[in-house]
Symmetry: C3
Subunit: 207 residues, 3 copies
């Protein structure tokens, strides 16, 4: 997560299936960090609060001399990042621009006594991470009892760490980024439960 | 690709199934870069134009004190590279030697109105890279129409980028190293076409 | 292996299924290197000769301000290592402590004319590494003939390198860490022999 890096760090992200087409190359300054990425939704998170500066990268003098159609990470993003890290002012990189969020925001939402979220990621251990933050969960649940439902599974407690449960046990906990995470202790929840990112996770509030 | 590194960079390559046997350890200076590798064909590319200097690495004072039979990368190649990077002159590393190409050159060749090449690599996305450069292709095809044949597939156009084609479409393009590459947009051509490195790729020239 | 790093290097190891529970965080100084790890057996090797200093990491001023239950590598071990590398004296990190070995020591042992060891690791090539050192082997075998038995396989010679045997041949050699290693030349012994770490390996001494 970017916040563990020093302020002023330049982050480059090039997940870019549209490389070589007309999508713009962008740089963004947000929360004291720089982000350089294609305009395909990767920088949506900077746009949420509106407190950012963004540049359309148009100044070719900060690019590689030859630009391929398939590797802008090498030809545009990395050279711009290197110039920025070496002291070229952000404002020199191109033309100021507004970010336009590109992807469907995956928010969790409350409907009556139900909080509906989504599994958005599974890590390399097969743990399943939901788009529900600790604050959202605690705000919703308050002092009530609760049930966390994922497919046929039903959990009624938050565990503080994987080490506090027995091997093979399914647990829900808040991970080190304060997101709700479901995991099988010393196992692979993704495979065992056959749950992939995109699955719904539902919190029911009791009395 | 080495040319994206600064002149004077020391590159170490130790793909070395013959480690511990009599094959020589080499250093080569070519196109302003240093290459250190076993004498098993890894440095063939430096020998193509003859404009290189090479050394048989014989000066044990630049090696680790103890030499194993199974890890010359640690015991010889890396220490020699470190000494070279630290300022030891190239000429001190051993005895001047001529490179002898070790591997079958995988060239593409023209037969009448056919250019025959080979898939030499598939990347981690399953894209298939041929040993046909953009220059060779354009020189052969000129202003004619053409057909690119790989197994049962037949392509009659070069696409400029993956993003210019629809998901699932098979495309041919020149990649960021100017080599002919066949790929399935947002898919895995290697698996889908069941084509592995070594397969023939044929360019037919039309009228 | 740590001995290829400079004296004074700080090594951090966080294989830590018990993260978030009561196991201690430790730092150890042994053989001129620093090791930082959870108290779960990772540092057993430092305890073998007793010539170490160890600290229970208790000084929170060298930790991240917020401590999660699932990522002490980020929150405790890495920050402590950074402070140590930056000059904080080892003795400031916490409270002196004795190491208590946590894991079953996997030693090889002699019974009459048999030396019994164990496969303790297989590398990414599928080579099988035993817990038998070159010194232990030579001390046991002396000038006798010998047979190395692993499952149905029987080897009666030590090969000096993989390159000295034919592709597909099963060989025993002393690897670059001077441990007995069994491998299939240009193949995968682990898969071909269906042998995993934990398997017994037996050396019989002849006449």
């Amino acid at each position: 997560h970017f916040k563990y890096f020093s302020p002023g760090t330049v982050h480059v992200a090039v997940v870019d299936p549209g490389v070589g087409t007309a999508r713009k190359a962008l740089a963004c300054y947000w929360q004291e960090h720089y982000f350089i990425a294609p305009d395909n939704g990767l920088l949506d998170f900077c746009a949420e609060d509106g407190l950012y500066s963004a540049m359309h990268l148009t100044r070719r003098e900060y690019w590689r001399a030859e630009i391929s159609n398939t590797f802008h990470g090498r030809d545009i993003f990395a050279p711009v990042a290197a110039h920025l890290a070496a002291g070229v002012p952000f404002s020199h990189l191109g033309i100021p621009i507004q970010l336009t969020p590109r992807l469907r925001a995956r928010k969790c939402g409350v409907e009556g006594d139900t909080l509906i979220g989504e599994i958005v990621h599974s890590d390399r251990f097969g743990n399943l991470i939901a788009n529900i933050s600790k604050a959202e969960f605690e705000n919703f649940v308050g002092k009530s009892s609760f049930a966390i439902r994922l497919k046929e599974c039903n959990l009624t407690a938050i565990t503080s760490s994987y080490g506090d449960a027995a091997p093979g046990e399914l647990v829900a906990l808040f991970n080190s980024f304060d997101r709700l995470e479901l995991g099988l202790v010393q196992g692979d929840a993704r495979t065992s439960l056959a749950v992939a990112p995109g699955a719904s996770i539902i919190i029911k509030r009791g009395s």
